[in-house]
Symmetry: C2
Subunit: 514 residues, 2 copies
């Protein structure tokens, strides 16, 4: 019997067909780890970005910068990436295929992420042998493991010794440019600096779809503060927010059941060490809720000492439950201390300290950093999976109205009697008002509703004979399938109110009883 | 005597100090060809992008997609880039430094771009010798020339034969994904597809600043149409627009004086072959005018046969006059015919044709393409250079109000008597309304005006004792330095009107006579 399709499969099928996302370079057989955002997907991604700015960056006046994807070797040497950004690989002695050793041990040796993390190369080979794990492709065996550098390597300019890498995170662009940014902000602390952009990790075995990509969009926020003046002044705004934690101490005991604690409590008990980190974690939870992910489908995993990145003093991963992949990381929250600035200061010889006046004159110090970091491609996918619903066997993509790529569809009831011309007028009226508007004039009105529901367009506007007579149109709601009759002349202001969440659908006109 | 500073120098100095842009990796001595956008620069760049969407993409319902920066070799082989994306280099026999041979011939041999284009490698060496051009660094000589691949090369995944390149243009991402995009758009033609994103060219000798970068942001628009149904239905919207042309036939005669012709005339005389190309060129001119570049500081250069890229049947470069660099390309307009789709169809074996019904059944054809392509970094710089003015020896950055990074500055007159609190209230009111708002409470009000003028913030709002008494504030105009008194309660709607160009400064309140 055929397995029923899971959400990943149905979302991907819809995504391909309607232009959300698909694997890149399909006509050449596809290349793993790269996806293409089609017209709807790239719009959804941009709306998520904009919502993130409004929700996460603007309230703290976090600045944004843009730096290059290609970085020179010395920067990533100083940051520790050249030394640490490696994964153990094994090559099949028979078919020469390469695999990530830790993934083989997890998949075929039933070892956990925690067990395979930071294993020495020889023990990797030993474990493979003791679990009798052979090449999944040809059954050949594995002799020796190697560390594989998972940054893309290139050369900058015509000299082969001028090595460059694709940046594995946007964070280093911020650290390395900290001096100028800090000066242009006239030395204020705390100071948040963000970067949203492409990053590259040369994964050995990328997963399907948008979950483990070789090229992805990262949102890195580096929040700089004085370690001796580290109170978060707005911590009370989130004090009563509850988070579900899987704590390190419980993980060590094999307990993965989350405990629900308020931010206030988490700080009091020392579960989260820094107030700013707590603040950003609470906001991360709220952001995902606004995206459509309920509280009980989210959790925060505390990283064990040896699970943390080389720069992190305390780290939590925010995870969301996905049908195919289970708990999946969508953001990381690390206390990077003064690690990065200190390393760049040492390597470059340039002073990256801040100055603080004090009673006995003043003092220079290296700011500390809390880093919230989001994978934007995963957020896009999460939004789609959580919006994907069925109603009367039809697909309805119930995206929040501030995320939907198309905001309105215009439907001329018939292709005659001046209805097309009138609909065209409405289309341009709304486009000029700044709305993203779709146009669909083919097939029955029911089929057109269905097409709009499938891609998540919240409002449909039907232009009918009544429109020509009295200047009213029918608006239809994607989620409730309710309809109201509204005045064309009032449409722009009604829609502005609706899309900034000031008006409900029922406020848009006279309910049509059916 | 010291040379007076040119605009590039003053704009760059301001850019560094205030956070517009600067050379990347400064603390490590800088890496040529990479720039960093600081907080103001990245905002300006995003606003330009948004304006471009509104002005250039939305009226034609051009779709946008997002594809990867790293591309597999077969795609760029099919597109002809692996074969053609090379430049002649020479290495000094003494100090081993490498140079672009054509640049040496232009700089020290007084040869033109046109003369050095497509020169054979041996003639490059001959010409260097006959002009007695030696290494500019050490005086050594040059023996032989080589072709240097100007794409960044890397490998994808763990196998060294899986070559990848940094994409030199965003266009190929569109061509290679055309099939899905076209299907999701239900086969409509004409169909415009755009991509805005980072691109990479491994320049041998990048210029300073944002003019010749190794990593840059490109806007590529591929406008697909049926070559047998190629009328542009809105050509009359631009028919009377005048462009200044430097024509190929004149260039051959050594005449570079532009001729001014309307779009209608250019089409009638066959100067521009395709209507859609003419339409996009007219819009490109208008866009630059809106950015602040007057008509007489723009021109369109027709490319000679051997100057055109390998895919182009007719090409024009839009150039803008810059003080340091003279005429500088900001956009290219090429008729790419069916070159790219046909090449990918052949290389991949996948059908990329469109279908058209006709009397005798139907016909399949490969759509043709007009490509307008803009360098976004250059546009950012052009906007800054053209906005840079002096008034009473003070710098005023007169950016168009829809491009300024900061829209409003809030100035509490004094740091006491409740003025700070009131100003804070105004600040948050405006931030919540979606404006980008700066805050400046240090130094005299005159110095604060000067700081805001230098970065181009169009409106200053001073909170004074009158504000506490009757709820009015003083608004100040960056360009005229005029002031009006306005009601705080009306500020949001006044500012919305002002920033969408519905209201002038004088409409914002009661003029204060001084």
């Amino acid at each position: 019997m055929k397995q029923p399709k899971d959400k990943y499969e149905v979302v991907s099928e819809m995504g391909k067909r309607r232009g959300y996302f698909w694997q890149s370079y399909e006509i050449y057989g596809g290349v793993g780890g790269f996806i293409t955002y089609g017209p709807l997907g790239s719009l959804l991604k941009r709306r998520l970005e904009e919502k993130f700015r409004r929700f996460y960056l603007q309230p703290l006046a976090i600045l944004e910068i843009e730096t290059s994807v290609i970085m020179p070797e010395n920067v990533l040497e100083a940051s520790g990436h050249v030394e640490n950004f490696k994964e153990p690989t094994v090559e099949c002695t028979k078919c020469k295929r390469k695999f990530r050793a830790d993934h083989l041990l997890q998949e075929f040796g039933e070892m956990t992420d925690t067990e395979t993390e930071k294993m020495a190369l020889q023990s990797v080979v030993d474990e493979l042998k003791s679990h009798n794990i052979r090449c999944p492709d040809c059954g050949g065996d594995f002799n020796k493991a190697e560390q594989f550098m998972t940054m893309f390597t290139t050369t900058i300019g015509p000299y082969s010794d001028s090595v460059g890498y694709g940046r594995p995170e946007a964070a280093q662009g911020i650290f390395v440019e900290f001096k100028r940014i800090f000066e242009s902000a006239r030395g204020r602390l705390p100071l948040g600096v963000a970067q949203i952009g492409h990053a590259l990790r040369n994964e050995i075995s990328p997963r399907q779809g948008p979950v483990r990509l070789r090229e992805f969009t990262i949102i890195d926020i580096e929040f700089f503060f004085d370690p001796e003046d580290k109170k978060c002044l707005i911590i009370n705004d989130v004090g009563d927010e509850t988070l579900r934690f899987v704590l390190a101490e419980n993980k060590l005991k094999g307990i993965t059941e989350p405990v629900t604690i308020t931010i206030k409590e988490a700080l009091n008990k020392g579960i989260i060490k820094e107030e700013w980190q707590a603040y950003f974690m609470a906001q991360a939870k709220r952001f995902l809720v606004e995206m459509g992910v309920p509280e009980d489908q989210q959790r925060f995993i505390e990283k064990l000492d040896y699970e943390r990145a080389h720069y992190s003093m305390q780290g939590f991963d925010q995870e969301v439950y996905l049908e195919r992949w289970g708990w999946t990381e969508v953001s990381g929250h690390n206390y990077r201390t003064d690690f990065d600035l200190s390393r760049h200061m040492k390597a470059s010889g340039v002073d990256l300290t801040a100055f603080k006046e004090s009673e006995d004159g003043g003092k220079r110090f290296v700011p500390h950093v809390i880093e919230p970091s989001f994978g934007l491609d995963r957020l896009v996918y999460v939004a789609l999976e959580y919006a994907y619903t069925k109603r009367n066997k039809r697909t309805v993509l119930s995206l929040p109205r501030d995320l939907t790529p198309m905001q309105v569809s215009v439907f001329p009831l018939m292709n005659k009697d001046g209805l097309l011309e009138k609909a065209d007028e409405v289309y341009h009226l709304l486009v000029n008002e700044g709305f993203t508007v779709d146009w669909d004039s083919s097939g029955s009105i029911g089929r057109r509703y269905a097409r709009a529901d499938e891609v998540g367009t919240p409002l449909g506007i039907t232009i009918d004979y009544g429109t020509l007579e009295d200047g009213t149109v029918t608006l239809r709601d994607r989620d409730s399938w309710k309809q109201v009759r509204s005045k064309l002349a009032e449409l722009p202001s009604l829609l502005h109110g609706y899309f900034c969440n000031r008006l409900n659908f029922e406020d848009l006109g006279q309910i049509i009883e059916r």
